[in-house]
C-alpha cells in the first residue's frame, strides 16, 4: 500500500477551519491580538515571528522601543544584543530589534491579507455563509484594513520606502517591489478613506475595536506628517480629520494619571487601545514590559500592581526639565520616581537603574490602589490614540498654516489639557505662547512614553541634527557622549533590515546605511 495522505489531528487545515462560523471573529481577534501578544500560547510559546526572543518580538514592545529609546524620553539599562545602540544612535541594518519591528509590521500585513483573501464574497458563497455572517464580515474586513493601514503607517514612518503587499498576493516566498513613500502614503490614505463609511460609528463599536474615529485619527496623523513622507504639507486635511474626531463626543478624563492605569477601560478620552489582561492576554511584551521594566531601585513593585521590577527604563533630564517642577506638584503630568535616583546619567554603559529618574506612568493598579488580576501580567490597556493627542495635532496643524481651524480653538484645547494638569488655570497659555517649540515641548509633557516621540522629533527636525542648533536635539548619550550631540540625518529613518535586503533583492537600502 502506498497511502501517504496524513491529515493533521491537533491543528486544523484551511479547508475545515471556516466550518466554524466563529472562525471569522476569531481570525479578526487575531489581527488585533497581533499588536498585543507574541504567539498563540500566552505568555510565550508558539511564536508569531522567529529569530528573536519571543518576549522581545511583541509588536507594542518593539514599537515603543523604536519610538522612545531613540529619544530624550527614555533609556534602558539592559545589555540585550544591540538594544543599547537605539539610544546611542549607532544602530545598523543588522540590528535585530529593527528587524523584529519590520517583521512585526509585515506579520500584521500578511495576516490581514490572508483574512481578506479568506473573506471574499466568493469564499463566503463556497461556504454557504448566512446573511448574518456576511453582515458581520463586512465590518470585520473594514477593521482589518484599518489595522493593516496602521501597520503600514508605522512602516512608512520608520522605514520610508517599503514593499506594498496586499491581498492580491499569494502565500509563498515571492519578493515584492519596493514602493515609493508617496505610493505607501497614497495607499494608506485611500484605504482609510475607503473604509471610513464601512466602519462602525465613532464610539459605537465594541471595546477595543476600531471605529470611524480610529480611522480619522490615523488619517490626521498621516496628514500631519505628510511633509516628512512626501514633501507636501497636508495640514488642512489634518485639521479636518481632527475636527471630525473632536466632534465625535470624546471628552478629556478628569484625572491624567488614570489614563495609564486599570481605570482607563472607562475612559471617554481614549480613541483606540491595545488590550491586555493578566489572565487572558498574557505576554512578556506590551504593558507587562512597560510596567515591570519601569520599576527598580528602591521602588516597591507592589505599589504599581506587579510582583517585581525589571530595572530597565528611566528617562533623561531633558524630559524632567520640561516641567516647572519635577515633583509633579505644579504639573501633575510629571510622574517621576526620584527617591535614591539621580537625574543625571553619568556612567556608561547606562545599566545602573539609579541613574536617571524612573517613570512609573503605566501601572497595574486602579485609582483605589487595587492591583490587576495578576501580579505578573498586566491588565492595563495601552492608549494608542487619545483625544489629547488630537487636540495637540489640531493646534500644530493650525500653527503650521493649515486652514479650516482657528487659533482660538487651539488655545482652548491646549488649556483644557493644562487645566487638567495644573488643577487650575495657572498654567494656561494664550495664542502668543503657541509656537512650534512650545508644541513639541507640550507634546512631550502630555504624551511622553506613549510611543509618539520619535515621529514627533523627526517632524520637528530635532531627532538627529537640527537646522538651528536647537538644544532639543541634544540629550544625554545621544551620539555616544555623556552630554549628547547631534547625529547624522540619515538616521531619521531606520535602515531596512539586512535580512530583508538578502531575502528580497528588489529592495534598495535607505541612504546612509
Amino acid at each position: 500500500c502506498t497511502d501517504l495522505d496524513v491529515k493533521p489531528k491537533s491543528s486544523a487545515t484551511g479547508d475545515v477551519i471556516f466550518n466554524n462560523s466563529q472562525a471569522y471573529l476569531q481570525f479578526l481577534a487575531r489581527l488585533y491580538a497581533g499588536l498585543a501578544i507574541s504567539g498563540q500560547q500566552g505568555p510565550a510559546g508558539n511564536p508569531d515571528i522567529k529569530g528573536i526572543d519571543e518576549g522581545f518580538s511583541n509588536y507594542l514592545r518593539q514599537y515603543w522601543k523604536a519610538q522612545e529609546l531613540t529619544t530624550d524620553e527614555a533609556v534602558i539599562g539592559w545589555n540585550d544584543g544591540t538594544l543599547p545602540t537605539y539610544h546611542l544612535h549607532t544602530w545598523t541594518a543588522q540590528n535585530e530589534f529593527i528587524n523584529a519591528m519590520f517583521n512585526r509590521i509585515y506579520f500584521q500585513v500578511s495576516m490581514t491579507n490572508e483574512f481578506l483573501r479568506e473573506t471574499t464574497d466568493g469564499k463566503l458563497d463556497e461556504r454557504d455563509a448566512t446573511d448574518a455572517i456576511r453582515a458581520d464580515v463586512k465590518v470585520y474586513r473594514a477593521e482589518a484594513r484599518f489595522l493593516r493601514a496602521l501597520s503600514y503607517w508605522h512602516g512608512l514612518d520608520m522605514f520610508g520606502s517599503i514593499p506594498l503587499v496586499t491581498e492580491e498576493s499569494t502565500v509563498g516566498t515571492e519578493a515584492s517591489e519596493q514602493a515609493t513613500k508617496q505610493e505607501v502614503f497614497d495607499f494608506i490614505e485611500s484605504e482609510l478613506k475607503a473604509i471610513e463609511t464601512e466602519l462602525v460609528d465613532a464610539r459605537a463599536n465594541g471595546y477595543g475595536r476600531a471605529d470611524k474615529a480610529a480611522a480619522w485619527t490615523l488619517l490626521a496623523k498621516l496628514y500631519l506628517n505628510a511633509k516628512v513622507y512626501t514633501g507636501q504639507d497636508k495640514n488642512t486635511e489634518c485639521i479636518a480629520y481632527c475636527q471630525k474626531v473632536i466632534d465625535a463626543g470624546f471628552e478629556l478624563d478628569s484625572d491624567y494619571a488614570t489614563l495609564f492605569t486599570l481605570d482607563n477601560v472607562n475612559s471617554d478620552e481614549i480613541i483606540f487601545t491595545i488590550n491586555f489582561d493578566g489572565n487572558y492576554t498574557q505576554t512578556y511584551g506590551g504593558m507587562t514590559f512597560l510596567v515591570h521594566a519601569s520599576i527598580g531601585g528602591a521602588m516597591t513593585a507592589t505599589d504599581y500592581g506587579v510582583n517585581t521590577g525589571w530595572a530597565g527604563l528611566r528617562t533623561t533630564k531633558n524630559l524632567v526639565n520640561l516641567f516647572p517642577d519635577e515633583t509633579g506638584a505644579t504639573d501633575s503630568r510629571a510622574i517621576f520616581y526620584r527617591n535614591d535616583q539621580s537625574k543625571e546619567i553619568p556612567n556608561t554603559p547606562i545599566t545602573t537603574f539609579k541613574e536617571g529618574y524612573a517613570v512609573p506612568k503605566f501601572r497595574n493598579i486602579n485609582s483605589d490602589g487595587e492591583s490587576g488580576s495578576s501580579l505578573e501580567f498586566v491588565d492595563t490597556d495601552f492608549p494608542v490614540f487619545r483625544l489629547a493627542d488630537v487636540y495637540l495635532m489640531y493646534a500644530e496643524a493650525v500653527e503650521r498654516g493649515g486652514t479650516g481651524g482657528s487659533e482660538a480653538s487651539s488655545v482652548s484645547y491646549i488649556n483644557a489639557l493644562r487645566q487638567r494638569a495644573y488643577g487650575n488655570a495657572t498654567g494656561n497659555i494664550d495664542a502668543d505662547d503657541i509656537t512650534l517649540n512650545f508644541i513639541i515641548d507640550e507634546r512631550a509633557r502630555e504624551l511622553y512614553w506613549e510611543g509618539h516621540r520619535r515621529t514627533d522629533l523627526v517632524r520637528f527636525g530635532l531627532f538627529t541634527d537640527s537646522e538651528d542648533n536647537n538644544l532639543r536635539a541634544i540629550w544625554p548619550w545621544k551620539g555616544e557622549v555623556a552630554a549628547g550631540k547631534e547625529t547624522e540625518s540619515f538616521r531619521d529613518v531606520f535602515p531596512l533590515p539586512s535580512s530583508q535586503i538578502i531575502a528580497n533583492p528588489k529592495l534598495e537600502q535607505n541612504d546612509g546605511y
Binding site: 500500500c1 500578511s110 515584492s176
Partner: protein, 983 residues
C-alpha cells in the same frame, strides 16, 4: 577400527573454555560440537584428522595418531577475514563489503558505569563523534558521523535495532522529556555489536533517513549448548572532577567593599560554599542476570537487569529495570528460520532543577536557612523596599529541596522475522519482518507554593505525557548464488517497507496551588489549570533493492536503489529516489600479490558514491494549518475574550534534503595480520538544505519559513590501525588507533551573493536576551563564533572596558576592539567569524593487555581544533555582578585577570581553544576459570572513568558539543568495582 577421542577446547587468548566449537573428522560428515565447558568426545577412525573450527578463530587440523585425549587452544582469527558484518537488510562477509562499515564488538566496548548505550563506542570509530551533552546520569548524547550535513533538520544518525528502525528524537517536542537519552531503554549488557554504516554506498539502502549515517545495533543471541547462567554486577562512586573558582565569603566581602559599597549593608555573616551544597558523591549499581542456551534447532537468551545511578548534583538519579528475550527456531528442514526479539525497559529519572549557575553566583555571605522565611525556611533575598525580590539569585538549596521533577519512561521494541528458503529456485529466500516500537511515559514537576521562584504564580504542577507507537512491516526477497562457470557471484535483494508513527503528547500545567500536600497527584487544588494536546502522525513507504556482484571474488560491485515516500512533504515532492554504487578490488587476491603474502595479508581498494536524504523536520510543515490560541492568548473584543486562530507560515514546495557522498579508501593487513586497518577519503555535498530562511516581508504568513535553500560540504580523511603488538601464550597486547579529519563548510545559503551580509546568527548565550555568539555564513564552517577582535595591553591582558584607550574623547567599542572592517568605526559590522565548535581532528586509542589471568585496558580520546565560548566567564567574570541592580552576585575569580566592570559578551577573548586529551576509562581485571572443577568462570574488575583531561581550556570541561559552555551539568570522575560470574 574406531577410537574414542576426548578433550577440551579453550581460547588461545585467555584460556577460557570455548563452547560450540565444531569438530569434524576430515572428509566425512562425522562430527560434534563442544559443550558449555568446551568438552567434547567423538568416535573416529584411527588415522583420522580432526578439524576444529569456530567463528572468529583460526581453524586447526590435528592428526589423531594414537592419541585418546586432544586438548587444544584455538587462536583467535586476528585477520578476521571471515568476519560477518551486518548491513541493512542482511549481512555480508567483511571481505566482500564495498562500502565503509565499521563494527565494534562487545570485547572492545568502553568499560565503566555506562547508562547510555552510545557511550559504549565513544572514541572507538574513526570519524564518529559521540559527545555526552552533560554529566547527567544517562544524559542525551550528540552523535555526528563524518560531520553535520544539515542546519535545521536533524544531524543524528538513524538507529536500527535488530532490524527495527527506531525514532531517536527526544521524547517530547515541548522539550520536557520524560527521560534523558532515548536509547537508554536498551541495557548496554545486551548489546553484541554496533555497526556504523558511514558512507553513502553502505547506508543508501536506508535512503531518505541515511544522510547522517546509520547505526545498527545487534543484541546478543543464544548459542546452542547447555544452558548457561551469568551474573554481571558493579558498584560505582562518582565525584565532581573540578569546580568553578569563585570568591569565598571573606574575599567577597572585600570585593563588595571595593567595588560596590552600596551593597555592603546587604551582606550577611555566614560563610556558605554554595557549590558544596549542591554536589554529592554519586553512587551507582547495576545487576544483570542472563540465561541462554539452545539446541541445533532452537536457541534462546533472556536477561533481566536493574541499574541505578545517582548524579553528582543532589537529587538527580536514573534507575532502569529492563528485560530482553530472544528466540530463534529453525523449522521445515531448516528452510524456515523464525527469530523473535522483545525488549522492554522502565526508566525512572529524577531531574535536578538547574542550580549550577545559582550556586556559582549566590552571595557566599548569606546563610542557607532563615528561620523567619516563609519560603520553606530558606534564605530568600529582599530588596530595598523590604519585599522578597524575584530578580535576585534564587537560593539553589531551596530549589533542590523543594522542586521535584521526575520522569518515567516505558519502552518496548520487538520484532518477529521469518526467513524462508524457497527451494524450487536455488539461492532464493524470502524474509518478512514485523516490528513495533512502543513508548509511553510522563514527566512531572512539582513546585510547592512555598518555593520562591521568579514567577509569582506560586506553586506549579506540570505533567507531560506521551504515547508513541511505531509499526513496521518489511519484506524482501534475496537471491544469492555463485555461478562458477562464469566465476561470478550474485547477491540480489529487493523489498518493500512500511513504517508508521503515531504519537500523542497531552500535557497539563496547574498553577497557584492552594495546597501543597498532594504533590502532583491532585492538580484540582490549583486555581488555574491549562491543558494541551498535540497529536502527530507520519508514515514512510519504501521500495528498495540492492545488487552485489562479484567476479572471481576479486572485483566486487554493489548498487542500491531506494524509493521513499514520506508524509512530511506535499504531493508533488513526496517521493524521492536514492541510489548508490560502489566498486571494490581485492588486490590481495590477484596473482601478482602471491609473492608478497609475507608482507600483505589483506589489501582492498574501494570507491563508492551515493545519494541519501534527510527528512527529520517534524510533521505537517508543508501544509497550510491554523493554530488556535490558548486561553491565555485571547483578545478582548467588546465585553468578551475571544480565542484567536492564526494561519501558520509554510512552504508548500518543501522537499527532501539530499546528500551526495563520495568515498575512496583501502583496507589493509600486514605482517600476518598483526597490523590491519583502513584508510578512507570522503566528501559529502548536501544540497536543498532544509533551512529556516527569512522570506521577503509580506510574502508568507511569518518571517522565517523552513525551505530548501543552501548547500553544505564536508570533506575528510579517516585512518584506522589495529595492531597486535604482542601475541604470546601468556601475554597479548592489542592496540586500536583511529583518527579522522573533517572540514565543514557552508557553500551556499540564502543571501550568499551579498558581500555585506553577515550571515545568520545562532547560538544564544546566557546574559542579556537575544545575544547570539555563533554564525552561519557562506565560506565558513557551520557554527563559527562571531566576535570582535579583542585588543590587548602591554601586559598581555585584554584592554579593560570603560577607559578611553584610543583617546578620542569617547569610551566605546573602538577602545577595546579592532576595526576589522577598516571603515574607521567599530560597530556590529566589525564582528567576524572566528574558529569553530566542531573538532577538526579526532583521535581514539584503545589498548588491551592480557597477562595470564589479568587484563588491563584503557581508552584515550582526543579532539583538536575545537573551540568553546566560555559563557560562564563572559557572563560572570566582571564586576557588574557585584554592582547588580538588585543584589550582589558572586563572580569567577578570573575577573581579577580582566578587571572588566561590565560583560564583554562578544569579545574573542572568551572563545577558547578547547582541544583535549581525555582518558575515558582505565580498567584492570582478574579472571579465574574452572572454579571448583566446573566450567564456572569468575572475573573481578575495577574501572576508573574520566580519569583525566588534559586541556588549555579554562572552564570546567572542554567537551561542549554546542560550543557554548553555560553551566553544564559537570561530568564526574567515577570509580567502579564489578564482578562477572558465569555458570
Amino acid at each position: 577400527q574406531s577410537t574414542r577421542i576426548t578433550g577440551t577446547v579453550t581460547s588461545g587468548d585467555d584460556g577460557t573454555a570455548l563452547p560450540g566449537v565444531s569438530i569434524v573428522e576430515k572428509g566425512t560428515t562425522n562430527g560434534t560440537v563442544t559443550d558449555a565447558e568446551g568438552r567434547y568426545s567423538l568416535n573416529v577412525s584411527e588415522n583420522a584428522i580432526l578439524v576444529f573450527s569456530f567463528v572468529g578463530f583460526q581453524s586447526q587440523e590435528i592428526s589423531v595418531a594414537g592419541k585418546s585425549v586432544i586438548d587444544i587452544p584455538l587462536n583467535s582469527d586476528v585477520t578476521a577475514l571471515t568476519e560477518v558484518v551486518v548491513v541493512g537488510y542482511g549481512q555480508q562477509e567483511k571481505k566482500d563489503v564495498t562500502g565503509v562499515v565499521a563494527a565494534v564488538n562487545e570485547q572492545s566496548f568502553n568499560k565503566g558505569a555506562i547508562v547510555s548505550p552510545d557511550m559504549l563506542i565513544s572514541g572507538k570509530i574513526a570519524g564518529v563523534q559521540i559527545t555526552s551533552n552533560s554529566g547527567e546520569p544517562g544524559g542525551q548524547s550528540s552523535i555526528r558521523i563524518r560531520g553535520g550535513t544539515s542546519l535545521n533538520a536533524s544531524n543524528e544518525p538513524l538507529y536500527v535495532i535488530d532490524g527495527v528502525p527506531i525514532d531517536n528524537s527526544a521524547f517530547n517536542p515541548g522539550g520536557f522529556s520524560s527521560g534523558r537519552n532515548p536509547l537508554n531503554f536498551i541495557n548496554p549488557n545486551d548489546i553484541e555489536t554496533f555497526t556504523v554504516l558511514k558512507d553513502a554506498s553502505a547506508a543508501a539502502i536506508y535512503g531518505s533517513r541515511a544522510a547522517n549515517g546509520v547505526i545498527i545495533i545487534t543484541t546478543k543471541k543464544g548459542k546452542s549448548g547447555l544452558p548457561t547462567v551469568s551474573y554481571d554486577g558493579w558498584f560505582s562512586t562518582g565525584r565532581i572532577a573540578d569546580r568553578l573558582d569563585v570568591f569565598t565569603a571573606d574575599q567577597f566581602r572585600e570585593v563588595i567593599a571595593a567595588k560596590a559599597p552600596q551593597h555592603l549593608n546587604k551582606l550577611g555573616t555566614a560563610n556558605t560554599d554554595w557549590q558544596d551544597e549542591i554536589y554529592q558523591n554519586a553512587t551507582g549499581q547495576s545487576h544483570n542476570i542472563t540465561f541462554s542456551g539452545g539446541t541445533e534447532k532452537t536457541t534462546y537468551r533472556a536477561s533481566v537487569s536493574h541499574q541505578k545511578q545517582e548524579g553528582i548534583i543532589k537529587t538527580s538519579s536514573t534507575e532502569r529495570t529492563s528485560f530482553s528475550m530472544g528466540l530463534t527456531q529453525k523449522m521445515l528442514n531448516d528452510d524456515l528460520s523464525v527469530t523473535a526479539n522483545v525488549k522492554g525497559a522502565r526508566t525512572q529519572d529524577r531531574f535536578s532543577p538547574g542550580v549550577v549557575g545559582a550556586a556559582m553566583e549566590m552571595d557566599p555571605t548569606q546563610p542557607i536557612y532563615d528561620a523567619t522565611s516563609p519560603w520553606g525556611g530558606y534564605f530568600v533575598w529582599k530588596n530595598e523596599a523590604g519585599d522578597y525580590e524575584r530578580q535576585a539569585t534564587i537560593n539553589p538549596v531551596s530549589t533542590l529541596n523543594l522542586v521535584e521533577e521526575r520522569g518515567t519512561s516505558n519502552r518496548s521494541i520487538g520484532n518477529v522475522q521469518f526467513d524462508y528458503k524457497i527451494r524450487p529456485i536455488k539461492g532464493l529466500s524470502a524474509n518478512v519482518n514485523l516490528g513495533y516500537d512502543l513508548a509511553t511515559g510522563d514527566r512531572d514537576r512539582f513546585q510547592p507554593s512555598n518555593y520562591f521562584a521568579v514567577a509569582s504564580d506560586t506553586g506549579e504542577i506540570k505533567i507531560e505525557n506521551y504515547t508513541r507507537v511505531s509499526q513496521l512491516l518489511e519484506s524482501y526477497l534475496n537471491y544469492k548464488r555463485s555461478f562458477e562457470n562464469i566465476s561470478s557471484t550474485l547477491d540480489f535483494t529487493a523489498g518493500y517497507s512500511w513504517q508508521d508513527w503515531n504519537s500523542e503528547y497531552p500535557s497539563l500545567r496547574a498553577t497557584r496551588l492552594t495546597d501543597n500536600g498532594y504533590g502532583v497527584s491532585n492538580p484540582s487544588v490549583a486555581k488555574k489549570v491549562e491543558a494541551f494536546n498535540s497529536v502527530l502522525e507520519n508514515r514512510l513507504i519504501s521500495f528498495f533493492g540492492r545488487l552485489n556482484y562479484g567476479y572471481k571474488d576479486k572485483y566486487l560491485l554493489t548498487a542500491s536503489l531506494r524509493r521513499d515516500g514520506s508524509t512530511r512533504f506535499g504531493a508533488a515532492n513526496r517521493w524521492g529516489t536514492f541510489h548508490s554504487a560502489a566498486f571494490a578490488w581485492r588486490v590481495i587476491d590477484e596473482s601478482f600479490m602471491e609473492g608478497l603474502t609475507d608482507i600483505f595479508t589483506d589489501l582492498k581498494l574501494k570507491v563508492g558514491y551515493g545519494v541519501n536524504g534527510n527528512q527529520e523536520i517534524g510533521d505537517y510543515k508543508y501544509l497550510a494549518t491554523y493554530t488556535p490560541s490558548t486561553l491565555t492568548a485571547q483578545y478582548q473584543l467588546g465585553n468578551s475574550f475571544v480565542t484567536t486562530v492564526r494561519p501558520n507560515g509554510y512552504d508548500a514546495n518543501l522537499k527532501w534534503e539530499e546528500t551526495t557522498s563520495y568515498n575512496i579508501g583501502l583496507e589493509y593487513g600486514f605482517l600476518n595480520g598483526r597490523l590491519s586497518g583502513s584508510l578512507d577519503f570522503y566528501r559529502k555535498d548536501t544540497k536543498d538544505l532544509l533551512f529556516e530562511r527569512a522570506v521577503p516581508a509580506g510574502s508568507n504568513l511569518t518571517n522565517i519559513v523552513l525551505s530548501n535553500i543552501g548547500e553544505i560540504k564536508n570533506t575528510g580523511v579517516e585512518l584506522t590501525i589495529d595492531a597486535v603488538a604482542v601475541s604470546k601464550p601468556d601475554l597479548t597486547w592489542n592496540i586500536s588507533f583511529n583518527t579522522s579529519y573533517n572540514k565543514n563548510e557552508i557553500v551556499a545559503l540564502d543571501g550568499s551573493d551579498e558581500p555585506t551580509f553577515k550571515g545568520y546568527e545562532t547560538g544564544d548565550i546566557s546574559g542579556g536576551v537575544g545575544n547570539y555568539i555563533q554564525i552561519l555564513k557562506v565560506g565558513q564552517p557551520a557554527y563559527s563564533f562571531y566576535v570582535y577582535k579583542q585588543k590587548y595591553g602591554a601586559d598581555g591582558k585584554p584592554l579593560v572596558n570603560g577607559v578611553d584607550h584610543n583617546e578620542d574623547g569617547k569610551t566605546d567599542l573602538a577602545d577595546m576592539y579592532e576595526d576589522v572592517s577598516g571603515d574607521g568605526a567599530v560597530n556590529d559590522q566589525d564582528r567576524r567569524p572566528f574558529q569553530q565548535r566542531a573538532p577538526k581532528v579526532m583521535f581514539g586509542l584503545t589498548s588491551q593487555v592480557n597477562y595470564k589471568k589479568f587484563d588491563l585496558s584503557f581508552t584515550l580520546r582526543s579532539s583538536l581544533g575545537n573551540y568553546v565560548y566560555n559563557n560562564v566567564a563572559s557572563n560572570t567574570a566582571n564586576f557588574i555582578r557585584a554592582n547588580d541592580n538588585f543584589v550582589p552576585r558572586n563572580m569567577l575569580t578570573s575577573v581579577l585577570e580582566t578587571n572588566f566592570t561590565s560583560p564583554q559578551y562578544f569579545s574573542d577573548y572568551y572563545v577558547e581553544k578547547a582541544s583535549f586529551l581525555r582518558m575515558d576509562n582505565l580498567s584492570l581485571g582478574y579472571t579465574a576459570t574452572n572454579l571448583f572443577d566446573t566450567s564456572a568462570k569468575f572475573r573481578l574488575y575495577g574501572t576508573v572513568q574520566n580519569l583525566f583531561v588534559i586541556t588549555d581550556y579554562s572552564g570546567l570541561d572542554p567537551e561542549v558539543f554546542s560550543g557554548i559552555d553555560n553551566n553544564l551539568y559537570p561530568r564526574s570522575r567515577t570509580f567502579i568495582v564489578g564482578v562477572n560470574v558465569t555458570f
